[in-house]
Amino acid sequence: MAIDRNGSPAPDAEAWLELYERMFKIRCFEEKADDLYTRGHMPGIAHLYIGEEAVAVGICSVLRSDDYITSTHRGHGHCLAKGADPYRMFAELLGRSDGYCRGKGGSMHIADQETGNLGANGIVGGSTSIVAGAALSAKLRGTDQVAVAFFGDGALGQGQLYESMNMAQLWQLPVIYVCENNYYGEYTPNNLTIAGEILDRAKAFGIEAQEVDGQNVLAVQRAAQTVVERARAGQGPAFLQCTTYRYRGHHVGDVDRPYRTRDEEEHWQQNRDPLQNLKQEMADHTQVTPEVVNELETAVRTEVERTAEEALSAAAPSVSEVGLHVYA
């Protein structure tokens, strides 16, 4: 388990490289998804996670595969970080029967039981009580699984989140609330939609809450480690506000982004890129050479490209499947 240099033990090159690989895989996946959309291969739209990779990867790096996550409309990163297969994800994005949902869910509804992913969600805040149910379930079944809710700053507007936090704290449920604060909800800057202090909204329920630099995967991992261990030990929920930034538009079709400045975008990309950050850390504190990193990048990108192309030639579900799976 990697612990950053402010912690101990010493930097673990391999673990860091693995974190880097996961983040890079997400970025490649999203760039490819964008490309598939632009070339007219992907139906509908998708919300890209580019720029926010450190949050999903940092959090999931301390989770077991039987731990649960609930995700959002911007869910590809969470899905990959929890261990999903890019091929089956691409197939789902393209509406093919090899997809995780046999083409029925698409980008906004990918779920993968095997890796504990209870699903992306098209309803902002929709998973904030579902996650508490998963945690209650773990508690009732006597396992030490934890349940992590990823949600955006926009979900802070949904009352359901507060109902969930109240019950999670009352019943000491193993829930980690991970607020991905990227400062915008769709096309609206969140200073127009959030009053007061975000962390206070969790503290008000007696829930331990802290802010984390969501662009620093090691910081996210360290914070996650502590709260996940606490939750696993039955010491109740926690709330992490991860400050981050989405480099692209709200969705693949949002290319003009009049609601924010190019300068702001550049600032984040130039100075706060999670991949560059970790690369620097590795250069400064490990023996990992640029060559190794480049090789890894090429390998990952080639693999992602391959799976995407493979998905493109996968079969669409037959119309006869439309009536299947309405009832179990």
Binding site: K104, G105, D112, A134, E163, A328
Partner: protein, 328 residues
């Protein structure tokens, strides 16, 4: 099969008690259901038997507990979510419609949501417009949901046990005015499958399809009609989704006349669906138009003089039946 008499409320309680004893995955969550034994006093003692972990007193958070039910159901439990008054199901429509009912389909058949949403319906207690509604038609409109509306203790127990064992989200509506009514139930364990209507009284002259407590209005109307030579067949769908259309149509074809009675508001309610199914399926056999009798399309008024006028009853059924049978 030897029988004994118990109340509708006891039937509900026995079903839950038996299923909780038999399956540790079953638990119940709701407001004032623990020490208080529910505001309808039907669960007295249940929390002593199963403990506060399995009979959970929740905050007044309908949306939250419904969402918790969804998450717990997705992860191996079989929650029963108790929503005190059917009027408050207005607060759980998102969790039931966008999450519970769609999860199995959206996940391509991978995730299941075996939960029961128990709630009430029925006016007549001078509880006014926000505590008297019968909103069972809403979730019946949603694919992926099953909706049960029992009319007797026997049906209530057998159907609730089936609902709890069902792998799908089931909404279970109990007419609060019937909790104290007694009826015969088998001594030994039994189940009643969802989706099967039952002929509560045989007749050759007219089919009266009645729902929940309206079955009893229909039966007393049938007695009165018999005295003037009209033999009414009273059919109780018991489950409105899935709906046992074959039995309903067969009965109407036999009697050549049909009246559909439900306590939900008539406009865009349950009677419209059932009447149109019968009018279509029995078209060539009908001697008269299929008539509908739902609650008056007004909010339920407080003053008993007014409230009574809004609820379908035996006299109104008799009047319509007479006209349909040319006895007016």
């Amino acid at each position: 099969m030897s029988m004994r008499k118990i109340s509708f409320g006891e039937a509900i309680r026995e079903a839950i008690d038996e299923e909780m004893a038999r399956d540790s995955r079953v638990f119940m969550i709701g407001e004032d259901i623990g020490a208080a034994g529910s505001v309808f006093k039907i669960f007295t003692g249940l929390q002593e038997t199963y403990g506060p972990e399995r009979i959970i007193d929740s905050p007044i958070s309908e949306a939250g507990i419904a969402g918790i039910g969804v998450g717990a159901a997705m992860t191996g439990m079989r929650p029963i979510v108790d929503i005190m008054f059917g009027d408050f199901t207005t607060m759980v429509m998102d969790q039931m419609t966008n999450q519970a009912a769609k999860t199995h389909y959206m996940s391509g058949g991978k995730l299941k949501v075996p939960m029961v949403l128990r709630t009430t319906m029925g006016a007549g207690r001078a509880s006014a417009a926000q505590h008297s509604q019968s909103l069972h038609v809403w979730l019946s409109h949603i694919p992926g949901m099953k909706v049960v509306v029992p009319s007797t203790p026997r049906d209530a127990k057998g159907l609730l046990k089936s609902a709890i064992r069902d792998d799908n989200p089931v909404a279970f509506f109990e007419d609060k005015t019937m909790y104290a009514w007694a009826g015969e139930v088998p001594d030994t364990e039994y189940l009643i499958p969802l989706g099967e209507a039952e002929v509560k009284r045989e007749g050759r002259d007219i089919t009266i399809v009645a729902i929940s407590s309206m079955v009893h209005e229909a039966l007393s109307a049938a007695e009165a009609l018999a005295e003037i030579g009209v033999e009414a067949e009273v059919v109780d769908p018991r489950t409105i989704s899935p709906l046992d259309t074959d039995l309903l149509i067969a009965s109407a074809r036999k009697t050549s006349r049909a009246l559909v009675v439900d306590e939900g508001c008539q406009q865009y309610g349950v009677t419209g669906e059932i009447a149109s199914v019968i009018a279509d399926g029995a078209f060539y056999y009908l001697d008269a138009p299929v008539k509908r009798l739902g609650a008056m399309d007004v909010p339920v008024p407080f003053a008993p003089t007014l409230e009574g006028a809004t609820i379908p009853d035996a006299p109104a059924i008799i009047e319509i039946a007479k006209i349909l049978c040319g006895k007016a």
